[in-house]
């Protein structure tokens, strides 16, 4: 299967531009290893130093969910796809909507943490 994919990528090289595709493939892994992962490690260290006890778990939950939401929304936030003559592409205010969703997540996590703390 891997060889079939590699063969296809080279066979259709006008469409796939194998050299550029390879740069994107390795670039994605390097972006993860050199940018995203160290940032997460730093965030983890900061979290471990600042938040202790029973508040750490809810903070971890809120941070993870918010971060993945932001990661997904990034292209829409930057508005790369706001084609000049197509208002139906990216119709929302994504910064405001992302803030609303993250706000709801933080509220829900905080409420859950308070309820479980009271139950104990």
């Amino acid at each position: 299967m891997i060889l079939w994919g590699v063969r296809g990528a080279f066979h259709h090289r006008l469409d796939t531009r194998p050299a550029q595709l390879a740069r994107f493939l390795l670039g994605g892994a390097l972006a993860h290893d050199l940018v995203l992962a160290p940032l997460v490690v730093l965030a983890g260290v900061a979290l471990a130093r600042t938040v202790r006890g029973r508040w750490r778990a809810p903070v971890q939950v809120a941070l993870f969910v918010s971060a993945t939401l932001a990661l997904f929304t990034y292209p829409a936030l930057r508005g790369y796809g706001r084609a000049l003559h197509n208002p139906t592409s990216l119709p929302h205010d994504y910064a405001a909507n992302l803030a609303i969703v993250i706000g709801a997540v933080v509220l829900a996590v905080a409420a859950g943490a308070i309820v479980s703390a009271n139950r104990r």
């Binding site: 299967m1 891997i2 060889l3 079939w4 994919g5 590699v6 296809g8 990528a9 259709h12 469409d15 796939t16 531009r17 550029q20 595709l21 994107f24 493939l25 994605g28 892994a29 993860h32 290893d33 995203l36 992962a37 997460v40 490690v41 983890g44 979290l47 471990a48 202790r52 006890g53 750490r56 778990a57 971890q60 939950v61 993870f64 969910v65 993945t68 939401l69 990661l71 997904f72 929304t73 292209p75 829409a76 930057r78 790369y80 796809g81 084609a83 000049l84 003559h85 197509n86 139906t88 592409s89 990216l90 119709p91 929302h92 994504y94 909507n97 992302l98 609303i100 969703v101 997540v105």
Partner: protein, 405 residues
Amino acid sequence: MVRSSPVTAAVDRFTTDPDLPLRQGAFQSPLRDERIAAWLGAALGLLFTTCFVTGLFSHLHQHPLSWLPVPARPAGLYRFAQGLHVASGIASLPVLVAKLWVVWPRFLSFPPGRRAADAVERLGVLALVTGGIFMVFSGVANIAQWYPWRFSFTAAHYWTAWITAGALVAHAGAKAPIAVRAMRPRRRSARRPALADADPVLHTSAEGPHDGLDRRGFLRTVAGAAGVLTLTTAGQTLPGLRRLALLAPRDPADRPVNRSARNAGVLEAAAASTYRLRIEGRVARPLTLTLDDILAFPAHSAGLPIACVEGWSYSARWTGPRLRDLLDAAGAAAGAAVNVESLEQRSPYRVAFVNHFQAHDPDTLLATHLDGAPLTPDHGAPVRLIGPDRPGVNQTKWVTRVVVL
């Protein structure tokens, strides 16, 4: 042995010296645990497999095989499959980043292989990681219409999918015994093997007291993140979730289009009084029709979804002559397939193939009206193709020629 080389010695020192930041074990978290890795891997395997199968279905629609014609029914099959494809891809984002985080120390372990088998496994994992990141990244970028590359998205996404799927099969096969053992439910009293024995690199376990999330909490968080992403995007295809689709790149209530008439360069040609629809190819009587000629054919209405490859869709009522009535008028053979061509000049989707099932389906129309109103230029005026179980890019707009094959 290579271990004695100065480079290896330096790296050995660098990764084992407790005073240096890159030492092995420096990134310890109790959540970098074998059971978590196994559960995340299983979830990711399921999501990626769903994406691969639905992706192949979409590919088959766009690159038809003569011996495997796609059916015209159920009419919403493509809508379902492609909605699932994009939703699974979106949901895999948090699972992928969590999985990479859990197993990351393994990527940094050194030396990369002590046996040939280790090197082969590492290459396979490299293919899986680079492929998986690329598939999710390129898919997410594509649905937001962000193209930071010059290759064709569909070609690159398709061929990389084979590489990724192959690496996934190899990885799942290699890890199945460990994963099954790690995922097996254990009685609380049962003694668990020390993870340090099972995995000298991950070296940690979510067992025992520690601050922050435990294993179950971490897995629930990942599932919750996937759930929130799904809830806030799936409304682009599921009418019931439309009001929650705050982060979706399209709003079906707008009746979105992917290419406007202006961007396609057809504004003038589509509105001109010289517009003609030609039915030709293997026909007894080639036809050249004006818009009035087309409107003189018996109009038929069909409720059909338009389902984009990018995962958004909406249902609407389309009205216009049946394609098969036009083919009959031109004297085409009963089981003929056709190519439908657009006024649009520079687009890979200028021509769409309609197989014999779909060309003769009673709901396959050359539509002139959408929800009772004449088509707007962006929706393909004066005439567009609309048929059951077809990807949106193959519901050709601004139709000017039907070639019977």
